[in-house]
Symmetry: D2
Subunit: 338 residues, 4 copies
């Protein structure tokens, strides 16, 4: 029985708690939060749940196996480090840490202690991402040419970070999972009007073989958009996460190009366009977080590394650091070393 | 009576011809095209139309006042220059010229000869752009914070230029018309898979006061998108050009920010979000090209410069040159001097 | 403090319970359900909640002021009658009763006992319906010409009634609330393929002055549709309940007709079409059931009849009876006497 | 070479003329119209076209093989009859005639004279209808359970007929073509507010085996809708004719029902819902009228009856007559004898 302690019962913590509570092989043991109101809210919902006002006290409890860190970014490192030092597995909210150096320390520490880290890249567990992964692995799309994501809406401004650190981790983690290659360099442009932090930003990531990814994030959009294009050599796919039933659209569209001698004797491109049927596959609609928390429990039982482990979290932090560096240069080309 | 000669009766030329033929105060006099089939097509539709296989012969005709250059980009400069030298006003397809130096020569020549140049930035004459211009001029949107356009579809590849020169001139000219300020620098990223020319590209333009514009163009998208977001301080607007009846959506949405002393004694941002009604104004649906050609006839009659004159065309070419320069550096920051 | 007892904790009962539990001036006292699993589910969520396996025992409890009947239709009458006999106010799920005679008995009984009945026509408390009511009351739409609703989806088949009794009560109650007149006659057509109960049906209701209502209900539609058109003399409105943010669209469209002498000397209609702006008003998004349960508590405190009282429930049952009668004649015209 | 004479060059006539002009094996010979302006418009577009102010004179011409009657409904019978008497094949706008008796006369006359009649049910030649027909013939949908069409918009009022005669012929002809069975009875409800003619109407048609069709037509809708649901036992299909690229959606959805002994010992229905992928097939996008006119030319060359012949036109007129009869009874059940 894997026993869980959750730090932070504000906005996202209740979801983490609810899903660990429902997972099999697992006991939702305690919640720590500075706010009494939050602790009360948790206690009312879960019979027998312990609550702590001091997270460190909970971390030291011998009745807990896993610490879930669901707190503001600036506290991730200290809390996760303490948890690992006390022999606890850790589940950490995204982004993993404020710096890649911190991430490296945590990974090393977990390694030494034989503990698991999972970074909460929830979207990797949605039915949509799993379906797209399946298509890519089976070669349905052919070679991936580009990835183009838009994640915009009105608010909610973060007070201690720009829109890249707030909204892009989702798309970066999905991209990292699906593209299956290391980005080599990054160019990020953006602007801010209300604070010192960018409220909108445009990220370009260069991969080998001319593969390109683009991510648009914006806190100042009147409309909410959550959509991603995948351009494959064989097929193309659009994922619209706001669609209730038709999240994925698989287009039998593409370009066929051949070089050939044209009339004037000069080699030229002959381009033709394939325009076939569109398929909207049925996508499983279980809650991603349910799958993810259950998976973490199983990883701990089997003592296996989750695929969304500390290294996976570190990769995203490396990209976020590169993004900030590029933003400071108003869009300079910044290499990424993964 | 302004007499028109059109060079090029391929894809776009028939539209230009049809609209000059319908304009008042104007006579659609002749068409020049190397292809006999094209000349025949034109002659069948318009009674009394003269046709020329040699454009230069038509340019020299004393029965013509205006030459419309509706040919591939590489020929714009020579044909327009000949026309101006022969004392003809010119109407030139977008983009104006292959280089800004060429554009400057043509502008100077027209100035010296007292002739008018119009560059065919058709979209400026759509009901939608005129309505948005009206909103901006009346202060409905408040100060413009950003402009974010997406213009993607499958094909048609151009064989002699990248997607920026093909698709971006529309959005650059609209942006230039509506933002009403000079962009200071540009960052462009992109990729190509089938030829030496980028098939997708992402343009960021920096304006004074943190105003930013972003334009996404792509020949490899399975879906056709023609949409633009305008973020204003007071209101926000989405223009979807593919909507038959509801092209413009004006959102009473925005952000109100005040600095204030929060409980912990630290100055902090207090952000609130306005979410009011949405208005979809009725937009006039006359053909843009009809308005544009009629306007050019009137400019010539009154000997007035059109607002989409040579300088307006030159500005777009300057941006396209900057885009190419930035693309070559994989996204370097390139200043634009207008 | 109004004390509530809920009978039925299956599909809809938990929502009723949750909202009474959250209402002010009210105590969620007890739940009755034959199923032990359902009773346990309720008891786990609400501290101190009493549970009963026998609804009649709960009805007789002196610690309860209101009985909410959230059970299958065939049991509504008996349970509500018992509750009224025991001096309890009743909140009854829609449709109110299986026959209008039953509804009449309950209304009479409540009258005699000085008790309140509320029929759960939840939709009347949505932000959308309230906004439309406001528009109609303010004369924004002008005289209402027609009401046209579509409520279709795949499943869920009811086993003891046709699609009319299952899906139409929503639209009939909304129509009855908004049209503000008594329908005079009804024509209903329909078909069944899988059981003896119609799985799809089309209802026409005739009102005075040529006002017409049409309601389409279908359990066999591949797509879910929840949309209603309101044709007014001045403006027209479309309500799409599946839209997350833009439920109501108010069109400045209409027809202006004048009789006039045409050229041939015969009086003729001159018809012109108004096509103005579209407004999508912001609609309050609080949970309808929350408003409704709070309102019932207040009605009881003030000893006032709710507008969705027994009579309002009886009207819908009268229409459902007429619908069944028309269906049996494959669409005969059946008068409705309200 | 089949020589064509078109009567009526107003709204639809130019389309008929243009397509016959482009058809192979065919000569667009003459146009008759009372209006000089219309005749001039035609003459300007087609070199060598003859024009007549008197349609009867054109009908008598020995240089014509086919008369296309593209005039108001009330004139169809007389013109088509004259044409047949003069030995001409006829192409008649929909609806075929004002009464079924007229249609019968024309059919008989054509039979006697060995001439062909085609009724212009254009939609039968669209890529969408052909694709749906293909699906139905191949058994993709399984047995058809229902047909449900909505064809509504604002205007254009006809001055001499109700909305049923104006808008329903399209859907009735499509239904008649696709359902492949004879409707047995009809129920039509409707209302009028501006004239003596119904501006909105709801048609139900009963077919054998509980198959049902419903058609909603409305001149007073603020939104334009052109959509049809096809409920099949195996699959379900939605055709939205306003979608530019995705007109047809084929849903792998349906209901599986089995009777079975449930726990309480009573036979009950066990219903399960299939929810599979959605396929949006590529639909050919050639102009329907082009296919139709070419097909008529070929029918005449081969002396074969078109499938949209006089009898097919007569069937629709019979249904329209039944509709009017039902409307007069405010929705009585009217048998249809085909």
């Amino acid at each position: 029985m894997v026993r869980i302690g959750v730090i932070g019962y504000g906005y996202w913590g209740p979801n983490i708690t609810r899903n660990f509570a429902a997972a099999t092989g697992c006991e939702m043991h305690a919640v720590a939060d500075y706010s009494e109101a939050n602790r009360d809210r948790a206690a009312r919902l879960y019979r027998g749940l312990k609550t702590y006002s001091d997270p460190l006290e909970m971390i030291r409890s011998s009745e807990i196996d896993v610490i879930a860190v669901v707190t503001p970014l600036s506290t991730h490192f200290d809390l996760a480090r303490q948890a690992l030092l006390e022999g606890k597995h850790v589940f950490v909210e995204k982004p993993f840490t404020s710096t890649s150096a911190e991430a490296e320390q945590l990974i090393e520490l977990a390694e030494k202690k034989g503990l698991q880290i999972m970074v909460d890249h929830t979207f990797l567990f949605t039915g949509a991402v799993r379906k797209i992964k399946e298509y890519l692995d089976q070669g349905v799309l052919g070679r991936l040419l580009y990835y183009d994501a838009t994640k915009v809406n009105l608010g909610l401004f973060q007070h201690d970070s720009n829109v890249v650190w707030d909204l892009a981790p989702h798309d970066l983690s999905i991209m990292d999972y699906l593209v299956g290659a290391d980005p080599e360099a990054m160019v990020v442009t953006g602007a801010h009007h209300y604070s010192g932090f960018e409220e909108m930003a445009y990220l370009t990531l260069y991969f080998p073989d001319n593969v390109i990814a683009h991510i648009s994030v914006n806190w100042l959009s009147p409309v909410k958009v959550r959509s991603t294009l995948f351009g494959g050599e064989k097929k193309m796919l659009v994922w619209n996460d706001l669609e209730p039933d038709e999240k994925i659209r698989l287009y039998d569209k593409g370009v066929d190009v051949s070089n050939q001698d044209n009339r004037s004797g000069i080699y030229d491109l002959l381009v033709s366009y394939r325009q076939g049927d569109l398929i909207v596959p049925r996508v499983e609609s279980i809650e991603a977080l349910k799958t993810e928390t259950q998976y973490f429990v199983e990883c701990i039982e089997k003592n296996e590394k989750p695929f969304n482990d500390g290294v996976s979290g570190w990769r995203i932090v490396k990209m976020l650091e590169a993004a900030d560096k590029s933003l400071k240069q108003r869009g300079g080309v910044v290499p990424i070393a993964l």
